[in-house]
Symmetry: C2
Subunit: 216 residues, 2 copies
C-alpha cells in the first residue's frame, strides 16, 4: 500500500457531540432523533444520487434534520436548526486519531475522502490540528454524486496517481467499506460498536476496533 484513504464522519471524527446536542434541544428525544437524522441523511444521499439530483451534504443534512423533527412532531426553530447544523462543523477527532495518523504518515500518503462538502471538512481538519497531515482532502462535491458510487472512489487514484490496488481505504461504515472494496481498494473496517456487517458481497481485508490498530 502506497496510500491510505480515510472516511471522515464516524471514522476520523466522532459524531457523538451531535447526539448530545440533539438531547439538549429536545430532552428525551436525543438518541432517537439523531439516529433518524443520520439514517435520513444517508438515505437522501443515495436517493439523490440515483435520481441524478445532487445537492451538497450541508443541504442534505439540513433536509434530513427537518424531516426527522417533523416525523416526531418536534418543533424546530431556525435557531435550533442552526445550532444543530453547526455541530457538524465542530466534531472532534477520535482520541487515537492524531497518533495513529502521525505514525502512518511516515510511510504512506494519507487522504480524506468524504461525503462532506469542502466547507464542512475544512473546519474539522483545522480544529483537530490535522492541517498538513493529509496529501488531499477529497469531497464527493467534485463529482456531484455520493458514496458508494465508483465515481467517488475514483477521486483517490486520480489525485494520488497510484493504482487503486495500491490504496488502502478505512471506514467505520460497512456499506462504505463494501463500495470501496467493490471499486478495488484494500479495505479496513473500523468497527467500534460491535456492528453486524451488511451482506453486500464484499469483506474487508481486516476488521479493527480503532484507528490505533492500523499497522503500516
Amino acid at each position: 500500500m502506497k496510500a491510505i484513504v480515510f472516511d471522515a464522519y464516524g471514522t476520523l471524527f466522532d459524531v457523538h457531540s451531535v447526539v448530545a446536542a440533539c438531547e439538549r434541544e429536545f430532552p428525551g428525544h436525543g438518541a432517537a432523533l439523531s439516529r433518524e437524522w443520520r439514517a435520513k441523511q444517508l438515505e437522501y444521499t443515495w436517493l439523490r444520487s440515483l435520481m441524478g439530483r445532487y445537492q451538497d451534504f450541508w443541504r442534505v443534512t439540513e433536509d434530513a434534520l427537518g424531516f426527522a423533527c417533523r416525523a416526531r412532531s418536534l418543533p424546530l426553530s431556525a435557531e435550533a436548526s442552526t445550532r444543530l447544523m453547526e455541530g457538524y462543523l465542530q466534531l472532534t477527532a477520535f482520541p487515537e486519531a492524531g497518533s495513529a495518523l502521525s505514525a502512518l504518515r511516515a510511510s504512506h500518503k494519507l487522504c480524506i475522502l468524504s461525503n462532506g462538502s469542502p466547507r464542512m471538512l475544512d473546519p474539522l481538519v483545522a480544529n483537530a490540528g490535522l492541517q498538513g497531515v493529509f496529501a488531499h482532502v477529497l469531497s464527493v462535491d467534485a463529482v456531484k454524486i455520493y458514496k458508494p458510487s465508483p465515481l467517488v472512489y475514483e477521486l483517490a487514484p486520480t489525485h494520488l496517481g497510484f493504482d487503486r490496488r495500491d490504496i488502502g481505504f478505512v471506514s467505520s461504515n460497512f456499506w462504505d467499506v463494501s463500495g470501496a472494496a467493490s471499486f478495488g481498494f484494500q479495505t479496513f473496517w473500523i468497527n467500534r460498536t460491535g456492528a453486524v456487517p451488511d451482506p453486500l458481497g464484499y469483506s474487508p481485508v481486516a476488521t479493527l476496533t480503532s484507528l490505533a490498530e492500523l499497522r503500516a
Copy 2:
C-alpha cells in the same frame, strides 16, 4: 393522462402479512424485525444500484432478512427464512384495489412498475385475480438497477409508447413518488398512514389516502 403506472409493494399489495409472519417466527420482535427488514431491503437496493452491483429483489430481500435477524441475535433457520420469504409471494391486494383498478381500466392503460423480479410479481397478480388488468407488469430486473433511477421509470414510456408527461404514477412510497416526479410523470402519493413527505425537491400532483380516491 393516457396511462397509470402503479408501484406494487405497499401500494397495490399489502405487506402487513409479512409483519404478522415475523411475529409468528419471533414473538415480541415482529414489528421491529419487519421494520428493519424493510429498511435494509430498500437500503441494499440503493447501495447495490450505486455500486453497479445489481442482484435481483429476491436475493436482496433475503440478504436483508438475514441481516435484520443477525443484528438482533435472532437465530434464523433455513426453514424460517423460507417461510418468511414465501410471505412475499402471498401478499394480498388492498381491499379497494380491485374495484379502483376496474374503474380506471375503462379509460386508461394500467401498468405495474416494481422493484420486484418477475418471479415475485407474477404470483401476486395471479393470486389477486388481476390477470388481464395490466397492459404490462414491468420489473427493474430488465435494466438491472433499482428505483429511483430514471432508467427504471423510462421502462414505462418505452413499453407504453406514450410520452412521460401523459403518464400518471401511483406509489405509497414518497421517495418513489419523488423519483417518478423527477423523471417527469404526474405523480399521486397514497399516504395511508399519515406519513411525513421527504424533502427531495418534488411534490405529488395529489396526496390520497387510498386507491379509491384516484379519479379518472
